[in-house]
Every structure is written in structure tokens, then in C-alpha cells.
């Protein structure tokens, strides 16, 4: 059976990776923690094979991604997630989101590096799930548009639209923080 001490070291080594993968997809820390726990329980069941495997990180990331997507799919009705019925002219969701995150006027324009990371990460987390999830799958999980459409069971056009809207929303948010950011 698995060595508990070795598993604990394994857990500490990979917990940030697994948690981050889940958090970027589900967007809620409590749910990301639940998913991360589930991932590590699965890892424990396969620990004899995973312990020394050079692909352990990839395995964990894939399991975390699948569990997070299953979680989102399970609650898609509640969140109106990836609804194909959502109209195209849904009043610029990115703009609304950027407005809600607008920095206080007193905030200094030149931010230190940690703040800059926080801005981008917070902007990503603040995106609506329908934009954030395909964006994360594309930029962090290296899936192509076609793979994302197949995995989310939505049309290719919707994936492209959602990713484009997500990027535009991120651009607006970053422009608020960095006025010198190039316009398209």
C-alpha cells in the first residue's frame, strides 16, 4: 500500500498546481478545494504508479480539469452555463464586468509586479463562466478551439465568440490599470 509519508510529500508538492487548475475553471475557492481533495483521493488510489512517475503533474492536471468541468456541467442549469440560448447581444458582458472591477481613482497607476499579477488573475476570475472556462482551457490547458467545443459540447462558433469576448474584457480591465496599453 502507499507510504503515507511519501504521499504527504507528494500532496504538498502538487497541491498548488491542482488547486489552481480547479480554481481557474470553477472560479470559487471552496469548490476548487473540494475538487482538489477529490483529485488527491484519486491520486492516492493510484499512488503506487504515480509516486515515481514523471507524468504525475500532467495526470493530476488532467484529472483536476475533468473533475472541474464535470462539476460545472452538473450545475450548468443553475448557472445558465454555456447556454446556447444566450443572445449574442447580451449587452457587452465584458464591459459590465470591467466596470464593476474599476480601480478606485486614488489607486496609483504604476503597480508593483505582485499587484499586476493579481489584477490579471482577478480579472480572469471575474469573467463569467461562459467566457472564463474556454479561455482557461485554451491558454492554460493547451486545448484547441475544436477540442474545447467537443469537451464543452457547444458549437465551435460559440467557443470562438466566448474566448474573444473574454479577451476583450481582460483588455478593458488591463487598460483601466494601464492607460498606455495599446488599443486594438
Amino acid at each position: 500500500m502507499s507510504d503515507p509519508v511519501q504521499f504527504e510529500a507528494f500532496l504538498h508538492h502538487y497541491q498548488d498546481l491542482v488547486y489552481t487548475t480547479a480554481l481557474r475553471l470553477v472560479g470559487r475557492p471552496a469548490e476548487a478545494e473540494d475538487i482538489a481533495q477529490e483529485v488527491f483521493l484519486k491520486a492516492y488510489e493510484h499512488f503506487d504508479a504515480l509516486a515515481a512517475s514523471p507524468t504525475a503533474a500532467g495526470w493530476l492536471k488532467t484529472v483536476a480539469r475533468n473533475l472541474a468541468l464535470n462539476h460545472l456541467t452538473r450545475y450548468r442549469n443553475r448557472w445558465r452555463f454555456f447556454s446556447e440560448l444566450e443572445s449574442e447581444e447580451d449587452a457587452e458582458p465584458g464591459r459590465a464586468f470591467a466596470d464593476t472591477l474599476a480601480a478606485p481613482e486614488t489607486h496609483q497607476q504604476t503597480l508593483d509586479t505582485a499587484d499586476q499579477r493579481e489584477i490579471l488573475e482577478a480579472a480572469l476570475q471575474a469573467l463569467p463562466a461562459a467566457q472564463r472556462v474556454p479561455l482557461v482551457l485554451y491558454h492554460f490547458e493547451n486545448l484547441s478551439y475544436e477540442e474545447i467545443a467537443a469537451r464543452l459540447k457547444v458549437s465551435l462558433g460559440k467557443v470562438k465568440t466566448d474566448i474573444h469576448r473574454g479577451r476583450e474584457a481582460l483588455r478593458r480591465k488591463l487598460q483601466l490599470k494601464h492607460p498606455d496599453l495599446q488599443s486594438p
Binding site: Y19, P29, H178
Partner: protein, 166 residues
């Protein structure tokens, strides 16, 4: 390393892609590790029969397989011979009806054993070696064909580039 204003002349999507990929992992909450370890401990304390079948002790796996096979065999046998058993009038006739298929299997196994022993006596070692070689060759051909079919049906995915699907 860090998100910086989009430099003039650089493609926005490429810049964003680079910035996102460079974002560091978020630190997991301090409660995650204790939660996982507690769940693992509870998981390990479960009795064997509440664990997945593959984690059962070997003896339990063997016994469960035998019981399952016996149950399925009995059910199949009963369904096939229910009429014969019902038609037999005496106990001896019922036993004969019940034993008949077993007797047939025994006779077939005996015939097979006799045939094999005859073959072993009559056929030379060279022929056995040739037959073994032929079996190995067939196995290798199957493996090769399977590999070719797998490569044809499941080609390796090319590395995705940022703009390939646009």
C-alpha cells in the same frame, strides 16, 4: 514574467497568452492538506468489502469470482435443463437428466486428453518447435497490424499553435 502593458507592435493575443501562461500557481488553502490526509486516512480504514473490487484481498477476489461463476453457470444450466428435470418422473431419472451434460463434458475432456497424448507420441519435437514458431510469428503479425491500425486511426496530435484555429 509579470503582466506589463501591451508593448507597441506586439500582437495582443500573443501578449495575453504569454502573460496568462506566466501567471504563477495560486497557493492552496492551508486547510487542503489536512482535509486530504484525513480523507485518505478514513479511506484506508474502510473494510475491504467496501473498497473497490480491485483492492480486495486476493483470496476474496478468487472466492467472489468462483461464486459469481458458479451462480451464473447454475442459472444458465437450470434455464437450459428445466424442462428435462421437470419431465423426469423418478429421482434416478432426474439425477440422470441433471448429470448428462456433465458426463458429456467429461467425455469430451477425456477424448481431448487421449488425442493430445497420441499427438505427443507421434509428432516429433521439430514439428512442435515449428508450430511454436508459427504461433509466435502469428502473434508478431497481429501486434504489427494492431500497431499500424492504431497509428492510422489515432494519429498523434500536432502541437497546437496560438493562431492555428483562427
Amino acid at each position: 514574467m509579470n503582466p506589463t502593458p501591451h508593448p507597441p507592435g506586439e500582437d495582443w493575443e500573443a501578449w495575453l497568452d504569454r502573460q496568462l501562461r506566466q501567471l504563477p500557481d495560486r497557493p492552496a488553502p492551508a486547510s487542503l492538506a489536512p482535509r486530504v490526509l484525513a480523507a485518505v486516512a478514513a479511506h484506508a480504514r474502510r473494510p475491504w468489502y467496501r473498497q473497490p473490487w480491485f483492492a480486495w484481498p486476493r483470496w476474496a477476489q478468487v472466492i467472489s469470482l468462483l461464486v459469481l461463476s458458479g451462480a451464473l453457470g447454475s442459472l444458465t444450466y437450470a434455464l437450459l435443463h428445466l424442462e428435462d428435470l421437470a419431465a423426469a418422473e423418478t429421482l434416478a431419472a432426474q439425477f440422470a437428466a441433471w448429470w448428462a451434460p456433465v458426463e458429456a463434458v467429461r467425455a469430451a475432456a477425456h477424448a481431448l486428453a487421449v488425442t493430445l497424448s497420441l499427438l505427443a507420441r507421434q509428432v516429433s519435437g521439430t514439428v512442435w518447435l515449428a508450430l511454436g514458431g508459427l504461433a509466435l510469428l502469428m502473434y508478431a503479425v497481429c501486434m504489427a497490424l494492431g500497431t499500424v491500425l492504431y497509428r492510422l486511426c489515432c494519429p498523434a496530435r500536432p502541437q497546437r499553435t496560438l493562431h492555428e484555429t483562427r
